[in-house]
Amino acid sequence: MLEIRGLSKSFGGVKATDNVSLDFADGSLTAVIGPNGAGKSTFFNLITGALKPDSGQIMLNGVDMAGRTPPDIVRHGIGRAFQVASIFPSLTVHETMLAAVCADQRRAGVLHRRFPLAETRDRAEQAMELLGLANKRDRTASTLSHGDQKLLDIALALVLEPKVLLLDEPTAGMGTEERWRMIDKVYELWEKQKITVVFIEHDMDIVFKIAPEIVVLCYGRILATGTPDAIRRNEAVIEAYLGTEHHAGVAL
């Protein structure tokens, strides 16, 4: 269970995250939406330790993550993928996975053995299979397509076996077809892995199709939370973000 309590962060006089409180149940799938500058990525950065909150708590199964370093938070079970695929360009897909498992097993500092370690292999294989990257194992990350780099980014987070997976715009920069393939993959992962997934997304068709729960942020505050139907009907959300298109869709 991930519980956010009174989370706030300001940059100068701008409140990027303003007293946000939310609960993410174990195994839930939640979309975070909102206009540009709503504070969605800041919210992720606070949870994962990239930014330190001014105030508030980030409780993961009763342990406060607020103010901890990213490696510490990752070890507690919060993984993330980035809006722009964040990978290791010179490593192959296979090496990336093996090295990530090494880090997760606290063997990143091992000097007396040779890479790869046999005990890291299974998890690396599983992650590559799960994300459909097994047939590209020997490709260096920099030579992968944009979509595969995004998948590798997610695989990097997933191979650490997180309890909570944060995906910052997993479909960013993709064409329509690739976008749906990616989101189907995310949905499949959520179903198979039974982990808590929170994702930021701008494509409302995707959000309303796959997310059972939606959080709407605006100017760093929570504008609304609820099911897709409730969000589509919420007047404040329609006015601030959705416009009439998605609302009309419901009316029809």
Binding site: T48, A50, T69, P70, P71, V74, R75, G79, R80, F82, S86, I87, F88, P89, S90, L91, E95, L98, A99, A100, C102, A103, D104, R106, R107, A108, G109, V110, L111, H112, R113, R114, F115, P116, L117, A118, E119, R121, D122, E125, L156, A157, L160
Partner: protein
């Protein structure tokens, strides 16, 4: 057990076997290299050749250790030479003032280097890119200035004079030129073997991840600061060993060993040899020392010649010699593969 699971189970020992095999291969290559180097005095009586190899050992260790920072971790240090100087002065001073056996002085020097490198590294590795480069340079200048100004200990601008005592230890007499030569070769081979192990270990891959994307590395649970500090200290130890060899070779230590130009030469060697292959810096060392020795004999304007060579590699090839060679072979192999029916 499914076919896939069975295949995976069989592959686990295969990975371990492959790792072991590459380790044994490296060990064999190192042994062969040592045997070849150690037998040189039997076939060539030239003292100049042995001197050349001793200098290659000192600078090879220094440059390869710099590549652990530059090539493997992406930390361009302009001050790595301070540890070369520290090794030379530390070892020279201990031998001059205490007269302990050589191995004791050797270990004591490495302990001193560890302490100094940890203190300096703890500050430097927090910084990135050009800031890291210039703060390491600042520390180098600090150490150089200390050597110059603390004349009562270091001999100031005259260096450590009067020679370094080298008591015989287990039959090894480092006053004997051949003994010194073989010891230098042994230190070089052991040092390269250890650095190769670091580069091919899980830690070596952690360094590659930090070089590629330090931010992402921290989001998979890597303590980037600690990893950078660790490699900073390890690299310092090998550079210090290079300094020790140099101190033994010249039987003293001089402020030039700790001057920024030593770091500059290290960077130059890496540019010449290339940073993408493990042996690139070693090849660069041989090239630079050969160039130095031949060009200085031919003209007093050797700086101009070296500058042109740098420009040739940096602007012409845009890579080091070994990078170029490896790429050329890879292209030939790929080309042959495409032509094959």
């Amino acid at each position: 057990m499914t076919e896939l699971q069975a295949g995976q189970a069989a592959a686990v020992p295969r990975i371990e076997t492959q790792s072991q095999r590459t380790r044994y291969r490296d060990l064999l290559i190192a042994l062969a290299a040592f045997v070849v180097l150690a037998s040189l005095p039997m076939f060539f009586g030239s003292k100049a050749l042995l001197d050349f190899v001793i200098r290659c050992s000192a600078f090879g260790l220094f440059a390869t250790s710099l590549n652990l920072l530059v090539g493997y971790t992406g930390m361009i240090s302009f001050g790595h030479g301070m540890f070369f100087g520290l090794g030379a002065y530390g070892f020279g001073l201990i031998m001059q003032r205490t007269g302990v056996p050589v191995p004791v002085a050797f270990v004591a020097t490495l302990v001193i280097t560890t302490v100094v490198a940890t203190a300096i590294g703890a500050i430097c590795v927090r910084l990135k890119e050009i800031y890291f480069a210039f703060v390491t340079l600042a520390f180098q200048m600090l150490i150089h200035s200390t050597i110059l100004s603390w004349a009562s200990l270091t001999g100031g601008d005259q260096g450590l004079r009067g020679g370094i005592k080298r008591p015989v230890f287990l039959g090894i007499d480092l006053s004997n030129h051949v003994h010194l030569y073989i010891t230098s070769c042994a230190l070089l081979v052991i040092g390269l073997l250890l650095m190769r192990q670091i580069a091919q270990s899980p830690f070596g891959y952690t360094l590659r991840m930090i070089r590629d994307n330090a931010n992402r590395a921290s989001f998979i649970g890597i303590d980037v600061w600690r990893a950078k500090l660790t490699i900073f200290v390890l690299a310092a130890l090998f550079a210090s060993t290079g300094g020790i060899i140099m101190a033994l070779f010249v039987s003293g230590a001089y402020p030039e060993f700790a001057y920024w130009t030593i770091s500059g030469e290290g960077i130059f060697i890496n540019m010449l040899g290339g940073v993408t292959t493990f042996l690139g810096p070693m090849v660069g060392t041989v090239l630079l020392l050969t160039l130095n020795d031949t060009v200085t004999r031919l003209t007093e304007y050797y700086g101009i010649v070296l500058g042109i060579v740098i420009l040739f590699f940096a602007v012409g090839l845009r890579k080091g010699l070994m990078d170029f060679v490896v790429e050329w072979f890879a292209q030939r192999r790929d080309g042959a593969g495409e032509r094959a029916p």
